[in-house]
């Protein structure tokens, strides 16, 4: 039975779904493949879908070929991304720990500016007791310290 347009569309759609990679590459590939399939059908008007698969490859064959040629590169870039992400997470955790440790040691001598977008520390002189200060929250959410 001759190959139908519907079968061919389904073939191209399945290939497009199975190939991983840039969409421009996929579009180009489907365009070239469909051109070749048309040539083949012109030369072999009685060709059926099994002839097409034999001549051009099954969806699996094509997908595997893309993996062989491009998979390695993508795999490398994924590894690079993962390494970058892990380094980023470790750096963030290290910075957070350092900030936390610093805040622990200085907090007793500081008034934390609670409401501001950017955390700030107001370091007070060691001889000033926090009990001698009046803490007032301003309209914009900042906490301001006044001597009593």
């Amino acid at each position: 039975m001759r190959v139908t347009n519907c079968e061919l569309k389904s073939y191209y759609r399945d290939i497009s779904r199975m190939i991983a990679g840039k969409s421009s590459l996929k579009r180009r590939f489907i365009k070239e493949l469909s051109f070749d399939v048309d040539n083949f059908i012109n030369e072999n008007p009685d060709a059926d879908m099994s002839d097409i698969l034999k001549k051009f490859g099954t969806v699996c064959d094509i997908s595997r070929s893309f993996m062989t040629n491009y998979g390695g590169m993508e795999y490398c870039s994924i590894i690079k991304m993962v390494r970058f992400a892990i380094t980023g997470i470790f750096a963030t955790v290290a910075i957070c720990l350092a900030v936390f440790a610093l805040s622990k040691t200085t907090l007793k001598n500081a008034v934390y500016n609670v409401g501001s977008d950017i955390p700030q520390y107001y370091f007070l002189q060691e001889d000033v007791d926090l009990d001698d200060l009046t803490l007032i929250r301003t309209e914009d959410g900042r906490v301001v310290a006044y001597e009593k």
């Binding site: 290939i15 590459l25 180009r28 590939f29 365009k31 070239e32 493949l33 051109f35 070749d36 040539n39 083949f40 034999k54 001549k55 051009f56 490859g57 064959d61 094509i62 595997r64 070929s65 893309f66 993996m67 062989t68 040629n69 491009y70």
Partner: protein, 119 residues
């Protein structure tokens, strides 16, 4: 006939070698390339067009071949592939390697006198 798909370990290097070899003679578009391979091998090899394009695209990415788009009809375009100087150097290297492997295999075969494997 041997179908050269990517899963055959005959494989990418040899497919590249044959494609580059055909392109050395003249620039060809995809369908012509696969047809030419079948004809030149006297029907012993055939490459599935769908599995040939990823190899061609990779050769383009690596600068071994270039592609040129030409109009074919009102709405259609045809992509011709052309070997570069770098591609020709790479082809020489592939052929050298292939000959060396082939010679090594034949040496092993010839070291054993077993007529049952002769054609």
């Amino acid at each position: 006939m041997l179908f050269l798909t990517s899963k055959d370990n005959f494989k990418r290097g040899n497919i590249e070698m044959m494609l580059l070899f055909l392109l050395k003679e003249k620039e060809l578009y995809g369908y012509e390339l696969s047809q030419s391979l079948t004809e030149r091998s006297r029907g012993l090899f055939s490459i599935q067009d769908g599995t040939m394009y990823p190899t061609l695209y990779r050769l383009v990415d690596r600068g071994m071949i270039t592609d040129r788009i030409e109009k074919a009809g009102k709405r259609r375009t045809r992509v011709y592939y052309h070997i570069t100087e770098e591609g020709e150097e790479y082809l020489k290297k592939l052929i050298k390697e292939y000959n060396s492997v082939n010679e090594g295999i034949m040496n092993v075969f010839n070291s054993i006198n077993d007529e049952s494997y002769d054609n």
